[in-house]
Symmetry: C2
Amino acid sequence: SPSSPCSVLPLLSGVTAHSFTTSRQELVLLRVGHGSDEARPVQRGDQLLLLPGPHRPQPQRGVEYEYRAVEWNDTDYEKINPIKYVPALQDGDILVSDSLAIILYLEDKYPQHLLLPQDLKRKALNLQIASIVCSSIQPLQCYAVIGLIKGKLGPDESLQIVHHYIDKGFRAIEKLLEGCDSKFATGDEVQLADVFLAPQIHAGVTRFDIDMSKYPHLERFYKAYMEIPAFQAARPENQPDAPSPPQ
Amino acid sequence: SPSSPCSVLPLLSGVTAHSFTTSRQELVLLRVGHGSDEARPVQRGDQLLLLPGPHRPQPQRGVEYEYRAVEWNDTDYEKINPIKYVPALQDGDILVSDSLAIILYLEDKYPQHLLLPQDLKRKALNLQIASIVCSSIQPLQCYAVIGLIKGKLGPDESLQIVHHYIDKGFRAIEKLLEGCDSKFATGDEVQLADVFLAPQIHAGVTRFDIDMSKYPHLERFYKAYMEIPAFQAARPENQPDAPSPPQ
């Protein structure tokens, strides 16, 4: 239905979900072959950053946006986000970067499809889960990936760091959700926590071979996410600037 | 004055500012001697985690709280915050962890001293700066400190990682604040960004020998922060459970 929270996700696919895969990777994207450890940094000319453009609110079906890919070596991007991570959002004269900051901005500016519940307890749980993903997993995962690319970490060491922090975060989230029997993390509708969990789980499964059976709640949510067209559309390989798969 | 935003900071000193020094350190605190590189992990029995207790709102002078230190090896703490970082906030039947999630919760629950402005552009800037501190600096700083303690990183390597990420974050924040001439980061009153910046700069200066003259805006704010009693009270060495300084 047009008022379902999911209808905002095509927006988030550009603004958020896709970008989690590339965000915090310092303008570098790994391409990992199916079922192998083959990985390469993108080449000069690959497009992988995204810069969503001006929003045109369309109350009945979310918010339209312009998706703009940025080349990894684009020095102009620094003017938009000085720390050079993706995503960045430009909305009129407002520039905001960092996925959580962007989403909280969108909550205020385009409240037609809120991702945060009114109930303070459930709202806090959403923010806490989002924080675990974006502060306790992502930065360390990125550090390990960059370290591998730059040759500062060996492949085993890099993967060990990734696994350690994903496991630590996922285990904590599982405990936070003890007894939860809803379809998604904090209810039967997609909320903020899900928007952070979906791409993190997807990266864990597709890039780092995480065994999700150790995290039964997250495994269940992931199956539910994958049935939502907006989450499917948000997968990195479905973005306009996704590199073509290795031959 | 009682309605100054600063009067909420004694709360945040327990909830937030102190804890940045110990947070994301996986229950380990470094004690660094004055002007030396001497550092040791705390001993069994040192108290260093804090667990603020139930809030009793006092509209005229912020919110009272009970400060509860937790021993680093307290397994019960895992029931409060499964990822075992500090701080955690317990407010009636609501448990919330992660500094940003806690502050956003307090904004809703005790709105008498808001740290976020109404203006969306300035609000987004506050959230973006807070995110740089808590996602792009803190987790990597912590990783480096823990790596040193566990012997996985040498002292030079550890300090290099810390310096790299503090510099990266601080440079980005300086650019975001280009042309800013206010007393604090986003105005002449303390706001959310300041509450994240103050402890991060303090840790940079006192623990990691960061030369703040490279970051003129941040250097100016730091001087202003240090004149505010609430920020002084929030310094880690002024907490009830601070280890005594090395002999």
